[in-house]
Amino acid sequence: MRADRLVRCVRWTWAVAVLVAARSASAQASQGLDSATAAAIAPIVEQARAEKLPVTPLYAKAREGQVQRVPVAKIEAAVRTLADRMREANEALAPDASEQELNAAADAIKSGVPAQTLRAMRKAGGDGSLAVPIGVLTQLIARGVPVERASMEVVALLQKGAVARNFIALEESVRQDVLAGRRPDESLDLRLKGIIPNLPQSSAADGLTNASAPRRPR
């Protein structure tokens, strides 16, 4: 009887502590937002929190809008769209996507990267963080490489064991080529020829044999 009471007491204390901690975190994160913006995004943040999505990027988006003096309605719409993309990214990168990965994937989805590509990246990248590869994928698309082409090559690089520095070097090379007047997709072709021979070729990842990965056009 006494043991039951003790267990119940511990559970209540734990629940109250979690609630207080969550409210405290929310209060800290929303610091820097004016009351109108904070109130406008509060339901979106609460829903994201209930779905175990990270809320820091949502606050950051709101803060970005606020410092640019964007109307509250526009900020609210941008935060809602971001939450939707993070939800989609969370499903694609399941089961354990980090905040950095979801943030990166939300940008990628905005750039037109399909959820199927994110799933293929998760499969190809194993347990390693995908934040850098997804970020570079978005950069390549922003530089003008077609979405399908960029997606296919980034997945292929992951399958061949490329690491963060390989992706960063690839993006930097493409930037230089584009600046020199080369077409972005041509540059990507050229630079991959320089990177792929130096990667640790994994036996299971020779080429795009993965059914879930985007296929190379014939």
Binding site: R63, E64, Q68, V70, D107, K110, V132, Q139, I168, R175
Partner: protein
Amino acid sequence: MFAVFAYFTCARAANAQWARQTTLDVGATHLTRDDFADTGGGTVAGLWSRWSERVSLVASGAATRVSDGQSTGIALGSASYTVPVNRVRLEGGGTGTILGTTDYAPSSSWMAFGRAHLLGAGWGAWLGGSGGNVHVERTTFPATTGELGAWYRRGGQRVTVSAITVTTSTVSTLILSDESLVRAHDPVRYADVSLIGHGTWRRFEVDAIALSRHTWKGDLASVPAASVAGAWWMLPNVAIAAAAGRQLADPIRGTVRARYATVALRLSAERHGPVAPLRKPPMVSPGAASLIATPTGKGAAVLLVHAPGARSVELMSDLTGWEPKALDRKSGRWELRLTTQPGPHHVVVRIDGKAWIVPANLPRIDNEMGGTVGLIVIP
């Protein structure tokens, strides 16, 4: 206490970015002194050093307990402030030393110094002097030094040549037949000419000193000496350190002439070993800016901006909570150190307080609120 006060005062005054070195050595040593039998024992030594472009603070200490039960402890501290005048740096400061040995009264010294440094690209030269008091065996006498030196650095290697003249005294204690003590001052004047090399190769560091002493006055021997010390960083914060050589008597610090060999485990608060070299941000035309990020380990990164002709550079990003952060100017580029995780981030910069712009080398993306931001990926 003084060091802490100076640290915060000077940091505020100079708005400084601090470099730091903090180590603790625990090991064994073997000593052969000219007037004693060989001894061996345990030793503990610590170093705390902070420096910026203008301020330098160093505190170090060592304690050795040898097999005959004797113990020696030494503590050294120094603080200096540097004022830049074109290519010349004028440095002023002070040093203090306290040395204690079992069965002997402690000795100490306090010196004020001034130096003028001439700095070039990868080389430097200095001229300086110091003056103060030395307290040994209950007597105090003055000491002055004059110094001239130069250094040359290439990558992780550095060579220093210096000549230091010292004018001070040594103390001899005579026990008379009636068992009374008489302490006699023996003025000394000598010059130490030294060649010092320092090298760093990935996880290995080595320091070597060759020194030649020329005594004009007093009973200090005119002899050469040499020593070498090395450390191998087997982990970023743990090294095996070893040193061996001969040290000459130092009347100002109170140390005696001896040969030594030491091996120790070195713990460091800072990471050592190979680090990713800082790349240069791409060149851009005046009025524009380029930005790159380089990880510095332990979830930190340095953001480097190239902005020719800029008087001030600020950065705003999700990395800064969209708060404007002023960047520090360092040897022709602007930099900001941040704690962050690898991944993509949105960023804009502002030059000389004008409009916020996207760095020219970054891809631009729409922020869905009518604005455009740069997309940088931190590796």
